[in-house]
């Protein structure tokens, strides 16, 4: 790339602007989930025993599996971006598809998990749940709201990535222009980070 031409410099500036915009959005996401985390901590502080009992009912194996799935999807996402930068278009496409598949797998697991809980009569405002101690009601309320909101983010992520896949196939995203893919990657990694915190807070309370 030639540094003396103004065109290239302008393009670089634009790239930085797009990335900065994405980061500002991600920071607002951190505070959105952060607020829910504070709510969780305050209730857990008030009801430590109930939270412990309720947490024991969650499937640790499914939670761990989903953690590994999201971590691996972050790897495929990062390498996919790196691949298009290096001009390895096919590798980039396959890894992006793998990332989306991992995202969908995560949602399937989440669905199985929620389904099993709902079958046992544990869902917000259910008669069985309301007969339980107050702290357990709060725990499951938070569980459904926070993992639900996170699941929604994964779903949105998969939709965004499918748009990126189309752009990649049409070569609108190419080794010379890949900011949209990079920014989608940033979003995907943030959703992973949020799950990194959700996992011990919901599944591993001792």
């Amino acid at each position: 790339m030639d540094e003396t031409t103004g065109f290239v410099l302008e393009e670089e500036k634009d790239t930085t602007g797009a990335k900065l915009g994405m980061w500002l959005f991600l920071l607002s996401e951190i505070l959105l989930f952060g607020g829910l985390f504070i709510l969780y901590s305050a209730y857990r502080y008030k009801n430590p025993v109930d939270f412990h009992h309720a947490s024991r009912e969650l499937e640790v194996i499914l939670g761990t599996l989903n953690t590994l799935i999201l971590l691996t999807s972050s790897l495929t996402m990062a390498v996919s971006i790196s691949a298009i930068q290096k001009g390895q278009r096919k590798l980039s496409i396959y890894l992006l598809m793998a990332t989306m598949a991992f995202g969908l797998l995560f949602l399937v697991n989440k669905g199985i998990e929620w389904g099993a809980k709902i079958d046992h009569g544990i869902y917000p405002n259910s008669p069985i749940l309301l007969s339980r101690p107050k702290g357990e009601v709060l725990f499951f309320g938070l569980y459904y709201v926070i993992t639900g909101l996170h699941g929604l983010h994964v779903l949105v992520g998969v939709c965004v990535l499918s748009v990126m896949l189309i752009l990649l196939l049409k070569e609108k995203i190419n080794p010379a222009y890949f900011v949209p893919l990079e920014n989608s990657g940033l979003y995907w990694h943030l959703v992973d980070i949020i799950w990194i915190f959700l996992y011990p807070l919901f599944y591993l309370i001792t």
Partner: protein
């Protein structure tokens, strides 16, 4: 090619190493939760989660190789705001 472009085209090997570390840290969280560590449990779980996030932010999200100052301060700034929220909330919850 400019040096910063070299950095941005990070090696695949680095990504795989970071991923392996993340998997190992997940295993550590899981096994730590099985131990009876009392009040240390939350602290250990959160510090492992914090370490994992740091790895994702620095390597997968390339914060480590960003040159502009704004990208360096943006996360600490938000964490500081978040800390203020936590302190305000808990000074209410704990002394009510």
């Amino acid at each position: 090619m400019k040096p910063e472009e070299e950095i941005r085209k990070a090696r695949y090997k680095t990504y795989v190493l970071v991923w392996m570390t993340l998997v190992i840290l997940t295993g550590m969280t899981l096994s730590a939760a099985g131990m009876e560590l009392g009040r240390w449990t939350v602290l250990i779980a959160l510090s492992i989660a914090g370490t994992k996030s740091g790895l994702v932010l620095n390597y997968f999200m390339h914060l480590k190789s960003e040159r502009l100052l704004i990208f360096k301060v943006i996360i600490p700034l938000v964490l500081a705001v978040f800390l203020v929220f936590i302190i305000l909330t808990f000074s209410d919850v704990a002394f009510r």
